[in-house]
Amino acid sequence: MKTILQILELYRKKETTPYEIVSEYIKVIEEKEEIYNAFINIYKEEALDRAIELSKYSVDEFELYGIPIAIKDNIAVESMELTCGSRILLGFKSPYSATAVKRLLNQGAIIIGKTNLDEFGMGCSTEFSYFGPTKNAIDHSFVAGGSSGGSAVAVKLGEVPASLGSDTGGSIRQPSAFNGVVGLKPTYGRVSRYGLVAFASSLDQIGPIALNVKDLALIYRVISGYDPKDSTSVNIEVEKIEDIFINKRYKVGIPRDIITEDVEKEIKDGFEYAISKLVDIGHIVEDIKLEYWKYALSVYHIISSSEASSNLLRYDGIRYGYRGSSDNLWDLYIKTRSEGFGEEVKRRILIGTFCLSYGYYDEYYIKASKVRRLIKEEFMKAFKKVDVIITPTVPVFPWKLGEKLDDPIKMYLADVYTVLANLVGIPSISVPVKISKNGFPISIQIMGNYFREKDILDLAHQVEFNETS
């Protein structure tokens, strides 16, 4: 399996062409898709056309020359379908491209297809897709994780060397951990959200998934930067690759209280293994205390569902997408949304609508916002003492397909560690550190201070366990 850096090297040596590379990956896609279902739409002809177009240019003109990339299907690509894994957007083609996608295209990347996801990003198994579940790349009777399950599985299977996902509460990092690839959720505001279909606007962030940390950094660099189209994006210069991988020694904070008895034994062991590895390399490890993390998952669900209930109001059947049949306006709304949305999305819309309702707003949304601020302040205090904070990415291993469908609360617990970085707005990376006995990788999450992606990329690179690294 080739990394981005290896492909670029082949181009430089003129040992291959974008057309050959795209053809290779399409072959893998055609072999694997029937079982794994990582893609919702594959744009074979378009990708090959673009590969031919790129042959007019040279590899040194672009940072991602001729690199096939898959895009999670809640990110807009002009003239491609944008389904969000939902029936409600069935057949909808986006008239514009997301800023992150434009940046990729400007650097010579080739969009090869749109990947599967939990409907509108709501879920952590990629089972809640109108287009059927994506299967785990390591064992296809297990869940892929989610919601960027398609993007993680596609990379692990070698269907693409890298992909874009989106992360609202762990949707990049958790499927990356489940499939043994690396995934980065950048600082909130680092990557423009323009063109990312909103799930929870104050938490959503686009990020890359790749085979190893160096590839990840390449994509991260290209998609990052201020965008006037996203008022929450921030104008802080993006690091150069050579300034990222400097093999620095870091002060690593370990919030030990977070590792409760609910965490699977082997994951605990894996986490301890990672700590000892850090110490061996020469990093300074320090215990830190976090109190409010216990409330993070509740706060996350109140805030994300509240925002989602508003963000999803626009799917009303009037202007685009699926429309229920009725000659009465209110009935049309009801039919469109009842038939267009899946169960998990409806569940969250109901929760969110309730949390924002008159008489409950203060008790839920406002209170959750206050606790969110406390969590933020606690992290800021911690970052005065340490450079990065690590936890396991997920407290559990992938579960069997269908196993937790009837118990959403249990499923939500998979996000318990990842939601922290979204609530605080800091960057976080998931990186495999070893393989467990069951064959699934064990990953840690490294959280850094605001706009300190370079710290977590550098450290992740030093500890990653990877066949390609």
Binding site: N74, I75, A76, L82, C84, L89, F92, S94, P95, Y96, A98, R193, Y194, G195, L196, V197, A198, A200, S201, S202, P228, K229, D230, S231, T232, S306, E307, S309, S310, L312, L313, R314, Y315, D316, I318, R319, Y320, L329, W330, Y333, T353, L356, S357, Y358, Y361, Y365
Partner: protein
């Protein structure tokens, strides 16, 4: 019975582009339907709003003009509800806290009048225009996303007349700030009314589209409520529509009137610091006071201030060294009825020669009515033989000598005889100015003592 009226006014701003995207703001509805649209104002999946700074500036200007406190930072909120004219399913709006201005006031008159408290001034976006056809509703998204300012008053008005005066002053204020044409026919200014009688429940009347209709709606509703109260019926809190065809208020369906909008802070737009933004604003009240300080009489000043065409003309006239007192008089009494106004320079020149007594007022009036927009002061001067004071004195003296008995009667108190002398003087010199003649005649006559 005691009536309390509060108003909520929505104003379409005349910015170049829309509130949250770069589409043209076609506030005068000149373009074909659905031509000024983009994925952002259509609420397409994945799009985000970027705030139009100009609209914020306009809201600050209006807040200043309405004597508001201005928040140091503003926050947008989402107002969630379904309607086909609302592309995102929520309107980006503001909510009590975080509005641009709060606690202001506006008077009902230019001078004195009643002070009406302004609760807040906030920004939001307009919805699409919906056109009801026989069997379908057509939507024009050109209007979706046009910047709106919402002005909410306290229930300080006590009659439909007061509400009308308030609205007229508000409209004039925004026109002076050049932030909106406030043309009600084009829907630039739309009013929601809250009215209660004798401390009963308040009734809201939505979307009244002209100042006259506000007056009609209020009169209808106040009368209706008074009649109900007299009959011993209870007024319930409700939302009504003004039917400007039947001229009645009608209750809206419950569903539409009792919506929970589930306001929450718009996560796509961080709060914006506006503490550095303040503007020089000139309100109609400022202009009125300025005219008074130039000795323009109050009645004229009000007429000029309330007519932007006259007011702009008058200021240009002042810049051309026109005389304020002479000019305001002619402007209000003569020029006001002209379709086209004469050149400001000529008019200023005219006022100068009048002030210098080189052109007598009656000639000036007569010539203005003749020449209208083609006023030519040199032409007037050519035809005026300016009669010097000493010449008039000679004429006066000769007339007194010629008609001693008439002069005796005049001196004895028959003041009306001055007309006789003026007539005689005109026989001697037809171009004599009666006013100048009268002044000289009175002066000389005072110096002659009858034996």
């Amino acid at each position: 019975m005691k009536t309390k009226i509060g108003l909520e006014i929505h104003l379409e701003l005349k910015t170049k582009s829309k509130m949250f995207c770069s589409c043209k703001n076609d506030y005068n509805q000149e373009d074909d339907a659905n031509t000024n649209i983009c994925p952002i104002c259509l609420g397409y999946p994945g799009t985000l709003p970027s705030v139009n700074r100009k609209a914020i500036e306009y809201a600050i200007m209006l807040s200043q003009a309405l004597n508001c406190n201005i928040n140091s930072s503003i926050q947008f909120y989402r107002k969630n509800y379904y309607y086909p004219d609302l592309p995102k399913g929520y309107q980006i709006s503001q909510y009590k806290l975080g509005s641009v201005g709060y606690n202001g006031y506006l008077y009902t008159e230019l001078y004195g009048g009643k002070k009406i408290a302004i609760d807040r001034v906030s920004l939001e976006e307009d919805t699409a225009r919906s056109i009801q056809m026989e069997n379908e509703v057509l939507l024009d998204f050109n209007r979706a996303g046009i910047p709106l300012i919402e002005i909410v008053t306290k229930p300080d008005m006590e009659s439909s007349k007061e509400a009308v005066k308030f609205l007229e002053n508000l409209r004039l204020t925004v026109q002076y700030l050049k932030i909106s044409d406030a043309n009600m026919e084009k829907g630039h200014m739309r009013v929601d009314i809250n009215v209660s009688v004798e401390n009963n429940e308040r009734v809201e009347i939505k979307n009244v589209n002209s100042i006259r209709e506000v007056e009609n709606a209020l009169e209808y509703e106040i009368n209706y409520q008074i009649e109900e109260i007299k009959k011993g019926r209870r007024i319930k809190r409700t939302t009504k529509m003004w039917d400007d065809y039947l001229k009645i208020t009608r209750e809206m369906r419950r569903k539409e009137s009792e919506e929970d909008y589930r306001y929450f802070p718009e996560p796509d737009i961080p709060s914006i610091d506006i503490s550095e933004y303040r503007f020089l604003v000139k309100t109609p009240f400022d202009v009125y006071n300025e005219l008074i300080s130039l000795n323009v009489n109050r009645e004229y000043a009000e007429i000029i201030v309330r007519d932007m065409r006259l007011c702009n003309y008058f200021y240009e006239f002042l810049e051309n060294s026109g005389d304020a007192v002479v000019g305001s008089n002619l402007l209000v009494n003569i020029l006001k009825s002209f379709d086209t106004l004469p050149s400001v320079r000529e008019f200023a020149k005219l006022s100068f020669f009048m002030k210098e007594n080189k052109i007598p007022p009656h000639i000036a009036r007569q010539k203005l009515l003749e020449m209208k927009e083609n006023l030519n002061v040199d032409e007037i001067l050519k035809n005026i033989e300016v009669i010097s004071e000493s010449e008039i004195e000679n004429i006066v003296k000769s007339l007194i000598e010629r008609y001693p008995e008439k002069f005796f009667e005049y001196k004895s108190g028959k003041q009306g005889l001055i007309g006789f002398f003026i007539g005689e003087a005109k026989k001697i010199n037809s171009k004599i100015d009666p006013k100048a003649f009268r002044e000289v005649f009175e002066k000389i006559s005072q110096n002659i003592n009858l034996l």
